[in-house]
Symmetry: C2
Subunit: 334 residues, 2 copies
């Protein structure tokens, strides 16, 4: 194969938002898959807030990306060549392919997906990591009962939009916090949330009070910072706070802001529990089956925000931290 593989490698550990010089755009010949391996042409890159954390030094749930390594990313693509009995050219797969046009991966680390059932980007979205993150975070940790009030931040994002929809499917009220009128309209009109709060519009605390007169039963947090504090101040008795992310803090140069109102947990006999997607690897089948069923029945809407062009990876990633995406941000690769 004579094709050239373009890649984005981590050139430096960013301080604050990743900038151009933190990336090294490289090219190398496309290699040949070894025994048990598969060569995949990347079609869609998944752009996720978690990627910012993977760029930092230090202990976390997953080792950091090394300097000089191809940036880690989930992606969906098409099999070009296979030395693994489970895959044949033309198959569609998802996996940790990295920010590159071609990847060689162990077949055992890939998942074959059926594009007759759902378009390929949906496997990076509702039927992928964000979908399973929403599903297990809400149902295993948040455990909303029918009639309870669920509040989710980042509600127009990939995970948040699903959290509210799943909450509704379980009979709970879903209140979304998002930035800007368009996103708020989207989550109510298209996704079916009961209400949306535009945190950019003014008094978040008063809005939470208005929409949650009996307090918040489940708060699903994707953003951290002041929004987390505002939600803590409105918890109801025995509330469950689900810590899924803290996108407002990922690019902070100063120390992360802790939730000043955490003593609300004490006052309300409430809990705050964190998790990551990979905590549920052994239960993904359960989540995928439910989510695919709801999707097929039209009970769940999958919204992808598709940007174009491999070379646009660095600036497209920044859209996550600018709050510029509505739904799951993916990059269609040339």
């Amino acid at each position: 194969m004579d094709a050239v593989n373009h890649q984005f490698r981590l050139a430096a550990r960013p301080e604050g938002l990743p900038k151009e010089s933190d990336w090294d755009r490289t090219e190398e010949p496309v290699g040949e898959p070894g025994e048990g391996e598969v060569l995949v042409k990347t079609l869609y890159l998944s752009l996720d807030p978690a990627m910012r954390g993977w760029m930092n030094e230090g202990r976390s749930y997953i080792p950091p990306v090394g300097i000089g390594e191809v940036m880690r990313a989930l992606a969906a693509g098409e099999v070009v060549a296979s030395n693994h009995s489970g895959f044949a050219p033309g198959d569609h797969v998802t996996g940790l392919l990295g920010v590159q046009e071609y990847a060689i991966a162990s077949g055992d680390a890939l998942m074959k997906v059926d594009t007759d059932l759902a378009p390929l980007p949906v496997y990076l979205s509702t039927l992928g990591m964000p979908g399973m993150t929403a599903y297990f975070g809400l149902l295993d940790i948040g455990r909303p009962a029918a009639g309870e009030t669920v509040v989710v931040s980042g509600a127009a994002g990939a995970v948040g939009g699903l959290v509210g929809q799943i909450a509704k499917l379980k009979g709970a009220r879903a209140i979304g916090i998002a930035g800007g009128e368009d996103k708020c309209r989207h989550i109510v009109d298209e996704l079916g949330f009961d209400a949306a709060i535009d945190y950019k519009a003014g008094d978040l605390d008063a809005a939470l009070g208005e929409h949650c007169p009996d307090g918040i039963d489940v708060y699903f947090d994707n953003v951290g910072g002041e929004i987390l504090d505002a939600a803590l101040a409105r918890l109801g008795r025995n509330a469950r706070v689900v810590i899924c992310g803290a996108i407002s803090q990922y690019n902070a140069s100063a120390a992360m802001k802790g939730p000043s109102n955490y003593m609300s947990l004490l006052v309300n006999h409430a809990s705050m529990t964190g998790f990551v997607f990979s905590d549920y690897l052994d239960r993904l089948g359960e989540g995928a089956q439910d989510m695919a069923g709801w999707l097929a029945a039209g009970d769940l809407k999958s919204r992808e925000d598709v940007a174009e062009g491999f070379d646009n990876f660095p600036e497209t990633l920044l859209r996550l931290f600018e709050g510029a995406n509505t739904g799951k941000l993916v990059l269609a690769v040339g």
Copy 2:
């Protein structure tokens, strides 16, 4: 009855540590108990960190003490006169008697205690609110398994000293964090903790790493602030953080410091849950039975730090926030 009742009333809401002018020392004639009421002579006042919170304006798990009201306090005393069939003069009781030498209370709000089984101050300590706080916080929320590592801050205090002892009774390792050599010696030599960390002695993070090489399974927090952050940074997988108090923050004039390291909950699939004693009012019998049994068997040591003199109430209360007490701080009255 001609006796005079001296009282400490809340004169102003303190900023920072309560000062002399925040109190009003009053006197009035001792009254007569009405129907169903009991007149009690206070013998021991319970001095608790929670009292500082009761002096603040604003929503909490219990209404604040009003300006001009007798300061709220748990206390133990002797019945002087009774219009309630459950009590007779000479009986010993505990209840929310307030910071005063005599109290008239509804008999239904008092608990009769047996001083043949344990000295009266123990009913404000191991067999009272601190004991039940340690018992339910550790066993209902922390849920330590045998072999797990339990870390408790404020370990030489009323609650902390019991948390470590109960952890040991359940087969867990108990590591206490306390301030100063004497307290550290006390919790290891007298209370039987496996180890003590003197947070004033230096590198708390390194000491936690040394004593908890596999991470912390249960962290029981009485103090908040930097110690909470240090413990969060050392959590093990599926750890449970019990939020019982935040004594380092109660007198802060600035906004409370939230735990910057709360994302450790996410990385470790860990939870942080708050509670107050009164959440368990309907299960107190269960706790009292276990605690009294352990005490009678010599498996639990009850340590009271007894100060003297009703008029010394204001400065004795401050000892809690100076970390000057070892064990349960009580004030012997009269």
